[in-house]
């Protein structure tokens, strides 16, 4: 059995000018996860590291680079699961957190719950000493452009979402 890590970005259309950076991003994340495995680290450590790198990469819709909701704000979801124990942790609609995946892992490791949402998730983050970041730090020009485009007069926001991937 050979250790392996596999990572992915979104399944939405990637504009041509962003495709090279998308490929570089997943390759870099896979290398980071694999380095942990090769050093004898756990699969959980590997996936959290890989996803944290992708959250920090503005070319992906997670963490910094997240798309905006109808109010022009960032709300993020994340989950981790450990195949050994079936332990899992998740957060949803969480704001102002650079790495929601690490918060999801804290939900798994430090609580008896499976998912914390919205203000409760942020309250939990504070109790764990997870630093909140300014909302603007998670918003890229590209995300703001897409948001603005979808707000254009005549755009049916609900309909425009139908063909888009989360």
């Amino acid at each position: 059995m050979f250790p392996v890590v596999v990572v992915h970005g979104g399944s939405d259309m990637v504009p041509k000018e962003r495709s090279e950076n998308s490929k570089l991003g997943v390759c870099s994340a896979a290398r980071a996860g694999y380095a942990i495995l090769r050093a004898g680290g756990s699969s959980m450590d590997a996936v959290v590291e890989a996803v944290s790198q992708l959250e920090n990469n503005p070319y992906f819709n997670a963490g910094c680079g997240s798309v905006l909701n109808i109010r022009g704000e960032v709300e993020m979801d994340a989950i981790v699961m450990d195949g050994k124990t079936l332990g899992s942790g998740a957060v949803s609609a969480v704001r102002n957190i650079a790495n929601p995946i690490q918060l999801a892992r804290l939900v798994m490791d430090k609580t008896s719950h499976v998912c914390l949402t919205a203000k409760g998730a942020n309250q939990f983050a504070r109790s764990m000493g997870v630093a909140e970041v300014p909302p603007e730090s998670l918003i890229t020009e590209y995300a703001r452009m897409r948001w603005t485009k979808n707000l254009a007069p005549g755009t049916d926001t609900g309909e425009s979402q139908m063909g888009k991937m989360g």
Partner: protein, 140 residues
């Protein structure tokens, strides 16, 4: 959306998935990512899956757990991933992509959408791609 699955040297599997959701989504909308069995699932007895795509469609078929069900029935990681995605498309009209591993270290990156950036590292080799059927390799 971004995600990862892995198998370590002890045969333990894990998954992680994270997302900002849908462009211009309603405030409070939560998709598949944080839902266990939809955005991801991991079980040492079967394997691990992380998903991306139409969140509401993924939730309706609990895509990650569905793929592991097919693996429990004897399907390979690749065939199980394709079966899950095909069922989602035919049953609820949703498209998406997944990465899947089993505890033996077999892996797959499959998608029914036109694109999904993916990469896999094993045996000091990096595999990656973006378009359907695309796979490049390089030494790590």
């Amino acid at each position: 959306t971004v995600g990862a699955v892995a198998v370590d040297s002890e045969g333990n599997v894990a998954c992680a998935t994270s997302t900002g959701g849908l462009v211009n989504k309603m405030e409070g909308r939560v998709g598949d990512t944080s839902c266990i069995g939809s955005g991801g699932y991991a079980d040492n007895q079967v394997g691990a899956v992380s998903t991306t795509g139409h969140g509401e469609a993924i939730m309706k078929v609990t895509l990650a757990r569905l793929i592991l069900f097919h693996m429990e029935q004897g399907q390979s990681v690749e065939a199980a991933s394709d079966l899950g995605l095909a069922y989602m498309e035919s049953r609820v009209g949703g498209l998406g992509g997944v990465v899947t591993v089993d505890p033996q270290g077999h892996w797959a990156a499959r998608f029914s959408s036109s694109q999904m950036a993916w990469a896999a590292a094993q045996k000091d080799t990096l595999h990656y791609g973006l378009l359907t059927g695309e796979e490049f390799t390089q030494s790590i």
